[in-house]
């Protein structure tokens, strides 16, 4: 039975913009595993109640349900060890966890400062009040105020990319000559932004721009073909 993935969607059910779901989309194709994605909206809590929580990605593989992008990646690695590795070894898995936390603690907050309102604009009608209310409570201000200085957020975002930019002077992917899950961890954030926003977060001469282009082109251009804005 084909793997199923509950995948965050916008008003257009083909607009899939979750950074965490994109990590798993990339991990699945990396392992050459077929997947059926199921469009899901923030307020479709009942549809994933069987998973014991209320967020995507939710992966269903036969009788097994796995939630949380990090746990899903680890599940796929351990369940399908004969497919291309997502990590490489235990040490690499630990280091990838550090990279995950760098993405989530450093990059994602700056990304939200740029695209939070663009996310809202692409949501299904039924999700809008929920999203605005929960995010405005978290941010302590309106969505509009939160993104009101996104040029400054972009400066901070580009500066925060310094370690990745320096790395790309040495290797084409965080995995070395080939991408690994560490690449998808970072790429999810870029794909999230481009799927909802035409705001150009990277300069064209940035090595990170070229790296993102390599990720967009992987696997027959899976991520580039997704509904979103050109970059």
């Amino acid at each position: 039975m084909v793997i199923q993935l509950y995948d965050l969607a916008g008003v257009d059910e083909n607009r899939r913009f979750s950074p965490y779901c994109w990590r798993i989309r990339m991990a699945l194709v990396h392992k050459e595993l077929q997947v059926q994605t199921i469009p899901w909206r923030f307020t479709d809590k009942a549809a994933i109640a069987f998973s014991g929580q209320g967020a995507v990605p939710v992966l269903v593989d036969g009788d097994l349900t796995v939630v949380d992008s990090w746990r899903i990646a680890n599940y796929l690695e351990d369940q399908y060890p004969d497919r291309a590795p997502l990590f490489g070894c235990e040490a690499a898995r630990h280091h990838a966890l550090f990279i995950k936390l760098w993405v989530e603690r450093v990059l994602n907050p700056l990304a939200l400062r740029m695209v939070a309102l663009d996310i809202f604009k692409h949501l299904h009608e039924k999700d809008r009040a929920y999203f605005r209310e929960t995010r405005e409570k978290r941010f302590g201000m309106s969505l509009e105020a939160y993104v009101s200085n996104r040029e400054q957020a972009r400066d901070g975002f580009r500066e925060a990319l310094a370690p990745l930019r320096a790395f790309l002077g040495e290797q084409p992917f965080l995995g070395g000559l080939k991408p690994l899950f560490a690449d998808y961890l970072v790429f999810g954030t870029f794909q999230w932004m481009r799927c909802v926003s035409d705001f150009q977060v990277l300069a064209k001469d940035d090595p990170v721009y070229a790296w993102r282009a390599r990720l967009l082109d992987l696997y027959g251009g899976l991520a580039r073909a997704a509904v979103g804005y050109p970059v």
Copy 2:
């Protein structure tokens, strides 16, 4: 013949404070390799001219000379593959390079904002003019001005540690249950600071504080026994 390491020293030749040399001290003891350290000052360029450049660490292993902390770690890993691994696999090595660059691009500039003047105060007389001149040119201001708001730098430093702090909620070391070179990459920066400064950069209830204590205690307390200030 025992490995030799040219190691940055202060006016007290037993005060060894280079973050890059500390990475290698830890890597050598990790691999249970004996080392003879040779105290070296910034202006002792002639003493390491044989290495083709002017900075430490410089490692001499028999007929071979290796410079640069990253290259030395890679050399040790490849030359002594039967000893405890510093990386674990190629993927982990690439990810560790990312962590190295995070340390150097994010943490070290903030560390210098806290301890640049303390470094100067511990230098050998013959190094002081050199250090002041090169650093003040790089910083675009006096050493005194550069560290004049080190409480603010400490706030930034603590905030920049967010990914490591979150990681330490999951695992005791960046290597998992045991330290790897990734841990020494970060630890070098902390050891650098404590060897020249009594400025307390971490709160005692910070998980990073506990991680640093674990590193200080490794290998019979090698790093804790080093000449420096208590933390």
